[in-house]
């Protein structure tokens, strides 16, 4: 059973400047009595008192201004940061797609990068070898997979990363912004695959600024503000609060139709679908 539970979790980053990070300061600091070594290190409270319970099938959009703690929250949910205070429990195989430049070696081929990413996400070599054809077909990179990654455009890297995570059946999929770099045609393809993935007993948390993308993938949303969960609920309500207007109001009929809403339900209805 896939789930993420977080209880009153806080994430505080100690900011060591060059001086407080040295042993000398720590040793000398002891002489003066109770000048705590930790107490003198400035702390950035990136997340404050977060409580969440995400279950199987949850498709959560993550919104908030820059620096509101979206990426840090995603890393908390991935288990990369363990909360400084409070608790977290993650059950399930996590596949994060965060910064696309990292975890990929620019000098080695796309194929090798697929391999390494897969291994990092808990697959074996054999399992990955079986999936390579599938990934190469999905990403449409073809012979480019033999080229070193530095020759790839941003969009091609996104394709590669998405290809890997969607091929390995992760139970928890965490996507940060930046996925928007792919073109519309590929996005449509990825959308089907992601949706399919979420349907197969998964959990998706997706940080994104585009209403359209969020409405497409998610049904609930979390609004982060200054390291706290400001609002958590249905996607449409959260977006309405966050933006100050109903996201459907400013969409063309075309967009609505593509998203699978008919304009009449939107106009008459409240609350998403």
């Amino acid at each position: 059973m896939v789930s993420i539970d977080v209880w009153n979790a806080s994430v505080d980053f100690p900011i060591f400047d060059a001086k407080s990070r040295s042993l000398k300061k720590l040793a000398l600091g002891k002489v003066g009595g109770k000048i705590g070594s930790e107490g003198r290190v400035p702390i950035i409270e990136a997340l404050h008192d977060i409580s969440l319970s995400l279950k199987d099938g949850a498709r959560v959009g993550l919104v908030g201004h820059n620096g509101a703690g979206k990426s840090t929250l995603l890393r908390l949910l991935a288990g990369i940061y363990e909360p400084t205070r409070g608790q977290s429990r993650i059950v399930g195989k996590v596949a994060p797609v965060f910064d696309l430049g990292v975890g990929m070696d620019p000098e080695i081929s796309g194929y090798e990068n697929i391999m390494i990413r897969g291994l990092f996400l808990g697959m074996s070599r054999k399992q990955m070898e079986k999936r390579v054809d599938d990934i190469s077909e999905f990403t449409e990179l073809g012979d480019y997979l033999q080229m070193p990654l530095r020759t790839y455009s941003t969009g091609m890297r996104v394709r590669l990363a998405l290809g890997v995570v969607t091929s390995i059946d992760p139970e928890i999929l965490l996507l940060d912004e930046g996925i928007g770099a792919v073109d519309a045609a590929f996005m449509a393809k990825a959308r089907d695959r992601l949706k399919d993935l979420v349907k197969r007993s998964g959990l998706l948390v997706f940080a994104n600024h585009s209403d359209e993308t969020l409405l497409d993938f998610c049904d609930t949303a979390i609004w982060m503000d200054e390291g706290r969960v400001k609002m958590h609920g249905g996607l449409r309500e959260v977006l309405t609060e966050y933006k100050g207007f109903d996201p459907f109001d400013r969409m063309s009929t075309e967009q609505l139709e593509r998203l699978g809403y008919s304009s009449s339900t939107v106009l008459s209805g409240n609350g998403g679908e």
Partner: protein
Amino acid sequence: MQAPSTLDSPEAPPAVKSRSFKRAFADVREAWDHRELWGHLGWQDIKQRYRRSVIGPLWITISMGTTALALGLLYSVLFKTEVATFLPYVTVGFIVWNFIVGCVTEGTDVFIANEGLIKHLPAPISVHVMRMVWRQVLFLLHNLVVYGIVLAIFFTSLNHEYRIGESSPLQPGLSWTILLAIPGFVLLAVNAVWVSLLFGVISTRFRDIPPVVNSFINLVFFMTPIVWDAGVLSRVTGGGDGDWRMLIAELNPVYHFVEVVRAPLLGHTVDWHHWAVVGGFTVGGWALAMVILRNYRARVSYWV
């Protein structure tokens, strides 16, 4: 209104504590289960380093060969010993030393260098340590080619009883005991893992440690019997009453680690006390590393 996952306040906090030996052991165990990952990454590191060079990893072997040759010739002249036995001695000592120094210096840097991976992909932190130690093992395997060549050249001087210096004990010469180098090296590698775990975590928090280690490691090289033979220590004092000078070597843990691998490869007898010291360090060191891992494992991703 649908809300499959809302703020329905979760019940009691789970019993899993972040700081527990269970989590520390789990980290090491999971890292071991990921051996396909670090095994692959270690190879990748070597291939990467020599990607566009013509003879590639052969450079590792060549540089070791020239260094061993030069040092062996120089010091056999300085100490007036026979080249045929002293050159293999220096070569093997230097190969083992290279492994140790690689593990220690890169160990201090192991988490700092992997900052990106640590912050972006969830994995046990010991994975990075094992990748680094594995890479050093691969370097050592490349260097063993030099050992093979040296052995082939000087085999006739090593396959019977011989001594390195005048005051050194008589050594039995090469025999099946060469196989003892395998358990010796396994112990050395196991120790390399805890050393870099320990130094890695501390260095991530205190960035002064890597430069300190880097400057002291050279001193350790000269203090360790690698380009000189431990027997020399008793010779300069003229025998028996100079035993305290042996402490220069005996108190240096690196000496014992070098000895358990080097001695079998040269057909020397390994004194039992070397095994005892190495065994003691294995147990004590891992215990210390587990305590550090228990307390600071979760902090590493904050510190890098």
